[in-house]
């Protein structure tokens, strides 16, 4: 008798769980899993649109081989990774310094906090247009400032030269996201018990030492989280490039995002197999990198799911 009741209870539990989970699982399957699989499969075909109907033509590994040969794809991948790897080292340290300053909690700092967080809320399209004006070689603010302070030789076409275009855009994403990192680090730093900091200072530690020996170790999980978030975020950059350089000059700001969109929707053919192969290849690369990072983090025992 008891076992029947227990089994019925268990069944009911599973049923309820299923009921609660189904909508989310539906979304996941329809919009994530199925498209991923489709991307993989399309990569083995030449997919063309003729008169509104799609035609499929099996080509085996041809598309994937073409991706490996595609110099633009690898340049785009490199640019994306450069962006994703350098950004955490720019955004997080500055964010931390600002957070430490804001921790004072004065009215002035409260005002600064509101101000410094603003860029996070703006659409990257608008941010791109504004910064394109700043970087304008003829009348842009940056060159004008350089001229005024006597550094005329430093004036250049920031978005027009392959060597400076990508760094210029990285500055823009840094400008946008420092505030986000700052806010989170502020919350993290604020949660450190004040006595610990007091004790350290009373022991004669300088501010730098307090930072290195007390604060950073205690907020390391948060920093790790932020680094991952930052990395993932920069892999997705698209709007900014679309509104400014469109991937130029000489593919120096081309990312996998912009190149995929161009090949799929802005190229001279409607063929979808090749960009699908590209997307799948990129997916594999991202998965590999994420696994590596997760493995590295787990070794340090600082991240837990």
């Amino acid at each position: 008798m008891k076992s029947v009741w227990k089994n019925r209870k268990r069944l009911r539990a599973i049923n309820t769980a299923a009921l609660f989970l189904t909508p989310a699982l539906l979304f996941y399957a329809l919009f994530i899993v199925f498209p991923l699989l489709q991307s993989l499969v399309f990569g083995f075909f030449k997919v063309d649109i003729l008169g509104g109907e799609a035609t499929y033509h099996f080509v085996g590994l041809d598309n994937y081989r073409a991706v490996i040969d595609d110099a633009v794809f690898w340049q785009a991948a490199k640019n994306t990774l450069v962006w994703a790897i350098t950004s955490p080292f720019l955004e997080i340290p500055v964010g931390l310094l600002l957070a430490l300053y804001l921790q004072r909690g004065t009215r002035l700092t409260k005002f600064m906090r509101v101000l410094w967080f603003m860029p996070v809320l703006l659409p990257q399209i608008v941010v791109g247009i504004i910064w394109a004006w700043i970087y304008n070689s003829e009348w842009g603010a940056l060159n004008q400032i350089l001229k005024t302070i006597g550094l005329e030789s430093w004036m250049r076409a920031w978005l027009g030269h392959p060597d400076t275009a990508l760094p210029a855009l990285i500055v823009v994403t840094t400008w946008t996201w420092i505030g986000f990192n700052m806010i989170i680090l502020l919350a993290a730093v604020s949660s450190i018990p004040k006595d610990l900091l007091e004790a350290a200072r009373l022991d004669g530690a300088t501010r730098v030492q307090v930072l290195r020996r007390v604060i950073i170790p205690l907020i390391r999980p948060v920093i790790a989280n932020l680094m991952i978030l930052c990395f993932i975020g920069k892999m997705k950059v698209f709007d900014l490039i679309w509104a400014t350089t469109q991937g130029g000059p000489m593919w120096s700001t081309e990312t996998v995002a912009t190149y995929t969109v161009k090949r799929a929707f802005y190229w001279n053919t409607f063929e979808k197999g090749y960009p699908s192969a590209m997307a799948t290849t990129w997916f594999v690369i991202i998965m590999a990198i994420s696994l590596l990072i997760t493995r590295a983090m787990q070794k340090k025992d600082t991240l837990e799911y």
């Binding site: 633009v72 304008n136 409607f270």
Partner: protein, 434 residues
């Protein structure tokens, strides 16, 4: 209810949501009984061309009172994306701006069966030389409204200041041209205004016209097919000439970050001596100054590209069809849409095009433009020139063309020298199926 969330709490969201659903329901309610023709077009920022199109729309509406016409204006890159995505999604406008498939400047909608044959309505209106651009097989798929060729606009006042005098027939040879560049540079201005940020072909304008004169018709027309090698001594000589111009400071450092519209404005502003541009120049020049146009008293001059001493192609240039209109195969009113397009191509409308826009056209026009000073100047500058179908990259496959545009831009921006460009173009040429 939940007040802690402030306005955007659950209640606020639900209200907003309900309001939006209501609004969408109302918006989706059946529209008025009038039939509608939708048109998507480029030229969002070229007022005189917009005026021209709207005049045709007006004439159409007068003739067809039961029809409404909705025109949406775009910038070309956004137009391309919108057309590509909507055609693949099975929808899209009735009429749309496009450029001939063989120029490669636009996706080949006709090759993929997206176009409706408008031959019945427009064949009689088209100039014979424009047929290759407007037809595919037996099908006429567009009205070749806008035609253009490359010329060198220049600022007469700057030339005077710099001590440049052009010979009577207006033809300068390559050495004299180099001299002009040097003189204008010495006069404190940048010789060429150019911008490639939103048009990747803009960096190749001077290069391809110069190359034509250096290598001759045969080799020039075989570049797209891949038959002409970039290591050919004539080609190299042409590229090295451009390199010399660049080294002499002919282009501004900011070439890759200037947009096409901006490059027009910079020339109108008077700090640039010359402006290599195709003759759709009129669309941006002859509009009110507040909209970015050229001042009516601007000292405009037009000249041809330099000729090569002893060259075989000094009387050659190219002509191309640009902005055109076609009808979608999925249109619900294709015949009526074609009628609207045909209205753009009547001889008097074509004459209006030339007059308003100061541009050339692939449509037969009333001979009224002869007296216009601008067209007189243009005629003088291009006297005796025979146009080939162009431009140089006509018929190139997309990857090859992409490399050509990117390397041309790098060449004129000073990021690449001629030898490096030859090397990269040869690599790209190897991948072309000959």
């Amino acid at each position: 209810m939940d007040n802690e969330n402030g306005f955007f709490g659950r209640l606020g969201t639900r209200l907003t949501l309900a309001a939006m659903v209501l609004f969408t329901a109302c918006a989706a309610a059946p529209a008025a009984a009038a039939e509608k023709i939708t048109m998507w077009s480029h030229w969002a920022d070229e007022q005189n061309k917009k005026d021209f199109v709207m005049e045709a729309v007006k004439r159409f509406k007068d003739k067809n009172p039961g029809f409404d016409v909705e025109v949406v204006w775009y910038q070309k890159p956004q137009l391309i994306t919108a057309l590509t995505t909507s055609f693949q999604a099975g929808s899209g406008p009735d009429i749309f701006y496009l450029e001939p498939a063989i120029t490669g400047a636009f996706p080949p909608f006709v090759d993929n069966g997206f176009m409706y044959d408008i031959g019945k309505q427009v064949d009689a209106l088209i100039e014979p030389w424009a047929y290759p651009f407007a037809k595919k097989g037996n099908m006429t798929y567009l009205l070749p409204l806008e035609a253009y060729m490359p010329v060198l606009y220049y600022n007469k006042d700057i030339f005077k200041r710099a001590g440049v005098t052009l010979p009577a027939d207006g033809k300068v040879d390559t050495e004299t041209f180099k001299d002009i560049v040097a003189k204008t540079k010495a006069a404190g201005v940048t010789p060429f205004s150019a911008g490639t940020m939103d048009r990747d072909w803009a960096g190749s304008l001077v290069t391809e016209s110069v190359l034509l004169r250096f290598i001759g018709q045969d080799k020039w027309q075989n570049i797209p097919t891949g038959k002409t090698a970039w290591t050919d001594p004539d080609v190299v000589a042409g590229l090295k000439y451009i390199e010399d111009l660049v080294k002499a400071g002919a282009y501004s450092q900011g070439v890759s970050s200037i947009k096409l519209g901006e490059s027009h404005g910079l020339f109108f502003g008077g700090k640039y001596a010359m402006f290599p541009m195709r003759t759709f120049f009129g669309g941006r020049a002859f509009v009110p100054v507040e909209k970015g146009g050229m001042a009516p008293d601007f000292p405009l001059g037009i000249m041809d590209f330099p000729v090569v001493k002893g060259g075989k192609a000094n009387d050659l240039t190219y002509m191309q069809v640009g902005g055109s209109y076609g009808v979608s195969a999925k249109s619900k009113n294709p015949a009526k849409a074609a009628e609207l397009i045909a209205l753009m191509g009547t001889p008097d409308m074509a004459a209006m095009w030339m007059d308003k826009v100061k541009g050339q056209t692939g449509v037969k026009a009333d001979a009224t433009a002869a007296n216009d000073p601008y067209f007189k100047m243009l005629g003088d500058a291009t006297k005796g020139l025979k146009p080939l179908p162009g431009p140089m990259e006509l018929g190139m496959d997309s990857s090859y063309r992409d490399v050509f545009y990117k390397t041309s831009t790098a060449l004129v921006a000073g990021h690449m020298n001629a030898d490096a460009m030859v090397k990269q173009m040869e690599e790209a040429r190897a991948k072309v199926k000959k």
